[in-house]
Symmetry: C2
Subunit: 384 residues, 2 copies
């Protein structure tokens, strides 16, 4: 079949746009005629009629619940396929009071860890026949509103990967029997599930590495002060250094981007050489990568003059010009943990220990902390 546009194309010559590429573009309006028959959606009743059975049998043919003769089943399935009918999951959820739907709160998928999180989550949901309904928060302030909108869809629960969960909202969600799973942030409720990278440990390990190199002036490149993960990483770093009698400078950044990293490099270079830190821990890789770029051409060399450790282990961190020592977040373990929780929520009787194979500890705040994995590269010279 050759796809042929059968609509009318309206081309306004006054809308011609030259692009300097030797081509002329037009604003084009394509009008495709609507289908003659608005396709009144088929129902199980239509299938039943066509297969000469009762409507209930159609339901049974697809669900597998209740008795049905195999040959009847096959006939129904064949007829349904011809008509192009599948059970309406929305209608089914009316009756059963449950749809295999999960709400997911996410935010801008920039060049960072978030896209990876979402990707892993989506893959896991697909594997478990859970349908993710996405709620996009442009800023953290919108998260609570989205959490509220979530309830219109009567999903099994909500996975939060952005912003903070207000206590009252957590209670509201849990009290209607939904699960609440917070990824890399506190759940703010005793019954919420929360799993996160062990940020303080990462910070402490970073301190250990830098101290082991004999560094003496330390700097933490942090995110916003209200960023939970970043703050915890700094806490651990401060802690680890403190035990050795050191204390780092902490530079906060409004955004955790490469641009912020470049600015931090400028700030460092503005210091008198003898006051410049030589042991830097960045609470994410994006800042660290920008920082490294900002130091290029300044005469400062890594790791001779300065060591730097990042967090996230982005793909770019292993690229030739960076070779950034970093922490890999235990993404698989965390996603596994979330799915374990969802299953346990669905079948409380069959509750089994979480299958996450990674090491983890339970914090006093109810958060399950999974250890990050240190990936040593060329921006440090130490061994653990």
């Amino acid at each position: 079949m050759t796809p042929v546009i059968q609509g009318k194309v309206r081309r306004n010559d006054e809308d011609a746009i030259g692009c300097g590429d030797g081509n002329t573009y037009y604003r084009v309006v394509l009008t495709v005629p609507a289908r003659t028959s608005p396709a009144s959606a088929a129902t199980s009743r239509d299938v039943a009629k066509a297969a000469n059975v009762s409507q209930a049998l159609v339901s049974r043919a697809f669900s597998g619940n209740g008795r049905i003769a195999p040959e009847t089943r096959d006939r129904i399935l064949k007829v349904a396929a011809e008509i192009g009918w599948r059970p309406n999951a929305l209608a089914a959820s009316m009756v059963t009071g449950d749809a295999p739907l999960v709400s997911v709160i996410t935010t801008r998928l920039s060049f960072d860890w978030r896209a990876q999180v979402l990707s892993h989550l989506l893959k896991a949901f697909e594997a478990w026949h859970l349908q993710p309904l996405l709620f996009y928060a442009e800023s953290d302030r919108e998260v609570d509103r989205l959490l509220a909108e979530t309830i219109s869809w009567r999903t099994r629960g909500v996975v939060v990967t952005a912003g903070v969960v207000p206590e009252a909202r957590a209670e509201a969600i849990l009290s209607r029997g939904q699960f609440l799973a917070a990824l890399n942030r506190p759940g703010n409720h005793p019954e919420a599930f929360s799993i996160a990278t062990d940020n303080p440990i990462g910070g402490r390990q970073a301190a250990t590495v830098l101290l082991g190199e004999g560094r003496g002036r330390f700097l933490a490149l942090a995110g916003p002060e209200d960023s939970w993960a970043s703050s915890r990483r700094v806490d651990g770093f401060v802690d680890g250094l403190g035990q050795a009698g050191h204390q780092p400078m902490v530079w906060h950044n409004a955004t955790m981007t490469t641009e912020a990293g470049l600015a931090c490099a400028d700030r460092l270079l503005a210091l008198p050489p003898n006051e410049r830190p030589d042991g830097v821990f960045s609470t994410n890789d994006a800042i660290a990568l920008g920082f490294i770029d900002g130091l290029r051409g300044s005469g400062m060399t890594i790791p001779q003059d300065l060591s730097i450790i990042g967090f996230d282990n982005l793909p770019a961190s292993s690229w030739t010009p960076y070779q950034l020592t970093s922490f890999e977040q235990p993404l698989d373990a965390m996603v596994l943990g979330v799915l374990d929780h969802i299953h346990a929520h669905q079948q409380p009787e069959a509750a089994q220990p979480p299958s996450a194979p990674e090491a983890h500890r339970l914090g006093a705040d109810g958060v399950i902390y999974c250890a990050p994995r240190l990936v040593l590269r060329q921006t440090t010279r130490g061994q653990l």
Copy 2:
């Protein structure tokens, strides 16, 4: 409120895991008691009872359809908020035969263009109060199956950002009145909406730039042969060079990753110096970035010995060590186009010209092509 875990923590000492970080991790099993009341979900009837009105009024209070006294409305809204009730969108869709749901087919969100696409789409949906239901395809082979699963949810239509849409499937979707929007791929049906980057134009422009520099030996770093976008970019490149009497080598790669780019660099370096291409067009930035890294330390300098142009304009392409000349895909225009189509689909009578401000042309294949934007950086020395 201090979050206090009230469940029992079971700690198996035999599961102790040392991590070499001075901490000991345990596999921890946390048992939180189930809520005493399984929270039988509230319904509009509960709200009605509490507000001393009929159930129908509750519906009117929220929908705004039908007459209702303002004070009654306020009372109902207040009561509903106390109870924590919101209209069940699934139930509503039963009656109205329509839910503000959109299916989105996506795939692995790796370090590439896809995360950006999804991010923009999600943001647009949020702005238009459309709820995206995500379908994740680990490989292109799964796309058709997901397309079929899509129909269980009676969404308004489906946006495809991965894989190919079989003609029969397109027809099945469209025949039930759903829209079908393909992003950066053909819709394979006259009534499907398809919008894509003008890949051939990009390829041709790349040729123009490289020819303008006086390059004489050309190479295209391509993706798999069945990649629609990559192939069209190569087509344009071959075309543009052909008009000047040149012909490039074309190296196909199974994956369009930095790793593939590194391998291509090795392949180039294995050629005798006088046979090496000096004008390279990569059909995506990831390959180009890997290629640049692969050339480091080889003695070949960019853009003296060799120019390279990528496609996608990834964030990393503007980083100091790369400064890659590239094409920015007209993402905003494409997403806008998709949303225009969805609106037109919903209200055919109010059909209005697409609001995408970018230049675009209508291909003979029914695809709306939006011009990419050339971003000149340091891996080329030419001017357009």
